[in-house]
Amino acid sequence: MATFRVHQLVPNFRPGDAMGAAAIGFQRALRHLGFTGEVFAGEVAPGCEAIVHPIARLRVERDDLVLYHHGIASSLVAKLLHLPCRRGLVFHNITPARFYAGTRLAEPLVTGRAQLTALAGHVDVAIGVSRFNASELEAAGHRDVKVVPLLVEPERFAASEADATLLARLSRAGSPRVLAVSRVVPHKRVDDLLSLHQALKRIAPRAQLTVVGGYDAGQRAFKALKARADDLGQVTFLGKVTHAQLVAAYRSAELFVSMSEHEGLGVPLLEAFASEVPVLAFGAAAVPETMGGRGLVFDEKHFAALAEVAAQLVSDAPLRGALIAGQRERLRDFSLEAVADGLRAALPAPPPSRPRRSKRPRVAFVVQRFGEFIVGGAEAHARQVALALAPRVNVEVFTTCATDHLSWKNELPPGTSRDGPLTVHRFPASRFRNIRAFNRTSKEVFGTAQDLVAETRWLADQGPTAPALLDALVAARERFDAVAFFTYLYQPTVYGVPLLADRALVVPTAHDEPPLAFHLYADVFERPRALLCNTPEEEALIRARFPNAAPSSVVGVGVTPLPARPERFRDAFDLAGPYLLYVGRMEAGKGVAELLEFHQAMVRAFHDAPTLVLAGAGELKPKGARVLAVGRVDEQTKWDALSGALAVVVPSRYESLSLLALEAFAVGTPIIGHTAGAVVRGQLERSQGGAGYDDEASFLEAVRVVGERRGPLSKRARAYGAKHQWRNVIDAWLSAIERVREGVKR
């Protein structure tokens, strides 16, 4: 397996740029081949710093490979020629300078071609993103040129991904609705699109032409085009659009037309394929190859004849159906598997690995934070499982130096240490999170469809980004029979699972939250050997979202309460009377703000309202009448508090297990749980050991019910809690590890 990194270089990186998107797509495919590596650029657009690094930060080792994406003259060529490692070239083609004669762009275009020739003989890997591009590389003197397609993900162009408002607006317009997606630049021949539109209007007066893509409003050529479009009527220049708007444009169109006279591949043609729009394209350069015989290609711009063909394509349903079916089939050649296969054939073979096999299973645990200091959540869950497995399995933990998940600041020293029977390897996070900026980004990103670059950016902004952790994991892969990833959400899991898919186990701790809609997470749910879920609700949720998910089972956790003395907790915090307890992160996302609001309403309404005790740390600083915030507490204090509470409140809507509920049940304390989340609702239904709420009135009612019927509720809670035994959990883990051991090729 891979023991060298594959970095990529792009001249500049900004959202919407095709070469940058190609590099991010390649990076994903490279992870599927087991290669780590980062993307670097000469210029990085603001907001993209989390996924692309400035070239000055590139550090390589002799065996590393740096793939440089070439599409225009770039000073990176000189840099590439002198890198002390293996070098590769990915050629995206360069528009012939004849289209730009007399403009400032002509010279960089010719320079780019001269650089292509200059690189011949100085690169170890030469890749064209089409056969056409590969032929140009060969003509420029490159040898052993391979073709690797670009990634096109059809699911990102499904009807459900479209911006509903724009889709409705565009679909209401007249018919035939013709779409072109390209920048308004000379070689794309928008003037020819207008000529076709003119011809089409003669036979279909309500014809619409929509052009999506950036334009230079001040440019004389654009002004002339705009004036002609205005004369013709029913022409819309949408300019640059978001991904969801782009999908809306495709999905509203009845026909996609390309008049471009030079394409090195033609990604919009494939996006139109994915959007189920028939494509009619001028067969210039790599266009026929891109289409692979699907859609329709023409070789002469006879606009009247093309208008007649277009009219037939729009009105003839069987014809459209046949074209769309063929186009869909063509997309297989641009799937993640096809890209990975192409890269596998193009890259140098990694040195053979030396597997080690021991009698006692060896398992790596990968989790974003780790340590005794973490009270609840997936990280505490990971530690509990690791400690429970330790008597029968060698467990090594790969984690970050962070203690705080809001900032990911490196507060613990990097390196290897011990945590009882566990070996813990800590790696520094490469950047810290600004939680406010991240929350703003999340608001923009959630709820609307995004492209791969935007999802990758969000993931990196969320953190923790720890490339050294992934490098170490890949280097140590043969030491482990299985690698268990905790929490689907964070980058170490999203990047780590495809890197070590043949031995990956994932404990997703997934719940119904906006990021689960990201297509990027298919790598986490579809690639590993098995998913170990916490509840039947979580398993059902994953299957509904990812129908091709890996085999899964409900494993959960065991709960072993410490002997508790409630009065010790009361004495320590000078607490009298009944109290409700919450233990966990103090965050709005956990429902704590809402809980405080409901509790304060109860305090105002009832003189004997119980105190609300909150244990844990986070961005919220709880305040209010009869509110006691005790901060982080140790294990013994937690169990003392749990056993003495009137009820434990589980306010989060987003739970995959609710360890807090299980711990409360284990000591016979009923819970008051938010029923908006399926998991807590399921725990309440299965246990019958508490009451649910979803608004202020039902919260007050739940407290009343628990107050009046605590005895029988406590009995049922204890009985349900007793079912969660560690021995069952460990047996399930051992059998999952054994299945992975048997399946890994050795």
Partner: protein
Amino acid sequence: MRLFGKDVTTQKLLEVAKERLGARGLLPPSEDSGLADGVEPPVDAFAFAIEAMAEHVDVTRGLPIETHRDGLAGQAVVLAKRAFRRVGQLFINEALARQVVFNGHALDGYATLGAEVAKLREQVAGLEAALTKAQAPAAKAPVLKAPSAPKAPAEKPKRPRRPRTPPR
């Protein structure tokens, strides 16, 4: 004009289009292909670099004036740039004089290197061709063996007698 696509009968599609064009009194498309495309010819890196450097060796000469701005703002920018060049050209020449001289030397140096590289490449190509030619017969020529006659014991070549030194 031709139509290509393997999922539908393109000929029929084109025939219908031609019929409709005829009915409207319009000329049908030609039968020939309008495509004349292949890969772009490669650009010789050295030759291009020298040409491009020569083009830009005089850095006092400005690039064509352009702007991406629309309307009045665009016109104002163009005017401002033009005015700046007209007024400032003397100072530009003065400030960049040494750079122009340096660029000239850099261009000469690069051109010399380029010529050397071209000559060396030619020599290497010649040597490689000669090597190939020299190796070719040994590797490729069929080895014909004549029916072997019994070998006579090789006679020891007689050493020519050294002429005696004539008596003095």
